[in-house]
Amino acid sequence: MSKAEAKPENQFEPKIIAFLCNWCTYAGADLAGTGRKEYQANVRIIKLPCTGGIDPLFLIKAFERGADGILVSGCHPGDCHYNSGNYHARRRWNVFRPLLEFCGINPDRIQFSWISAAEGGKWVETINGIVDAVRELGPFESYQKLNTIGPETSGGAADASSETG
């Protein structure tokens, strides 16, 4: 079911950073591995003890470093190894996601999901799903185009120039 061979040469390959909780989704990803379930290689996983330990600052920094899409995934509510980690995380994303949407960031670029240690299949679906969705959206140019300090912006009102972050 992998899309690796089917893709034409110059197709845009989205860059996805995934913040995973160590007990459930990371184990789910391992399970997909032991099951030899292929999926696209666009994701880079950053392991953290719990989704409750994921700070919205991480997402902003990930976008600044050129990510086109971000996946945040952990244990299903109730399954958290630390009892309430994912509940607090869910509450955070309940307000942070609309804030980014309000500022004009397409919410499909950030996906939140619950994947347990037994759901290797769901992990593969989630990854292929987000890679395809972000591939459709195309590279996150508007964020990456936020120039750092191009020569042109030495004046007051800065206009976006081609320098990438």
Partner: protein, 337 residues
């Protein structure tokens, strides 16, 4: 050289500038505020304001500026000089107080070693100032030795002589060249002495009394009392045309980085904070003292000019209504006792 410029010739003046390859910056209405911004054609210019919200300092010491960029391999580093930061441009419609801030700050940026970022921009930009025909209660340029139609710092000075005629006086050689380049736009000087419509700003305090009082009043409780309401932000220092303190930080990803010069201000508590946590200027009173002392004593002693042009922006923008001219009036009365 003296000329006159008619208001409806502004359009051809701006297009002429564009043809000559100048980037034009002029006051532009931006919902509640009037800010100096790049314009494409003349009708964007708005002139019915007292003073723009941002000062022209932004075009010589930008709020953030790359002074070096480098790429890092494992242990090999390549440095790259930023180029093309000095863009040939004309600032049209600055005020005499803003314009005067440039020669004041030239002294510090050429002291002992020359900051090329400041100096190259200074050469590339020509200042066309319009004298003030309006003022508000925050202006106190006359108190610091300036005037609503002062020429220092500008290359060309426009002064209103009728409701759409401006008297053009070139101040520097650069100004003359500019006027020569756009000969067609200007017309001959008016015969006789034109009636210059210039605002009359009355003096608020005598600058002469300030420095002597400051010399021996480093410890005084007016510093604390006056600055209780200050919230320690950087608004006053950032909008001030003569505040030039900056910070140097590196912003980098894993393989490349930029060394950046950012605005910084003495009112922030972090400005003098040592890594150990010791802070020589620990309270807001000390920082407020530093601001007044630097402008009216230290800079005078070191470069023989007051680091304040009386534009009043800091008082207008201050969240807690700390008024600098009021402070100087208090100092004057204290000096009188």
């Amino acid at each position: 050289m003296e000329k006159t410029l008619n208001k409806n010739n502004f359009d051809s003046f701006i297009t002429g500038l564009k043809k000559q390859g100048y980037k034009t910056i002029a006051p532009k209405k931006d919902n509640k505020l009037v800010t100096l911004d790049e314009i494409q054609d003349a009708n964007e210019i708005s002139l019915d304001h007292v003073i723009t919200n941002n000062s022209i300092k932004e075009y010589f010491l930008p709020k953030t500026e790359k002074i070096l960029s480098y790429t890092i391999e494992k242990n090999k580093v390549e440095m790259k000089e930023p180029e093309g930061f000095a863009v040939k441009s004309v600032i049209f419609g600055s005020r005499p107080c803003d314009a005067f801030s440039l020669p004041v700050m030239d002294k510090v940026f050429n002291w002992d070693c020359v900051d090329k970022f400041w100096v190259e921009r200074r050469e590339a930009v020509t200042i066309v100032t319009i004298s003030c025909d309006k003022f508000d209660s925050y202006c106190f340029c006359t108190s610091v030795g300036l005037a609503p139609d002062a020429k220092q710092g500008s290359d060309v000075l426009l002064t209103k002589i009728s409701n759409d005629e401006y008297l053009v006086e070139t101040v520097t050689e650069k100004g003359e060249n500019l006027v020569k380049e756009l000969e067609s736009v200007f017309s001959d000087p008016p015969s006789g002495t034109p009636d210059r419509q210039v605002a009359t700003v009355e003096k608020k305090f005598d600058i002469g009394k300030i420095k002597p009082w400051l010399d021996d009043n480093f410890e005084h409780d007016v510093w604390d009392e006056f600055s209780h309401k200050c919230i320690g932000c950087g608004a006053c220092t950032f909008v001030c045309p003569t505040c030039h303190c900056f910070d140097i930080v590196d912003e980098c990803s894993m393989t490349k980085g930029d060394r950046v010069k950012n605005w910084d201000g003495c009112q922030f508590k972090m400005f003098t904070m040592h890594t150990s946590g010791h802070n020589p200027r620990n309270t807001q009173g000390m920082r407020w003292r530093q601001r007044i002392m630097h402008k009216f004593k230290y800079y005078v002693e070191k470069f023989d000019s007051t680091l304040c042009v009386g534009c009043g922006r800091c008082s207008r923008v201050c969240p807690a209504d700390m008024n600098i001219s009021e402070m100087l009036e208090i100092i004057e009365t204290e000096a009188g006792k």
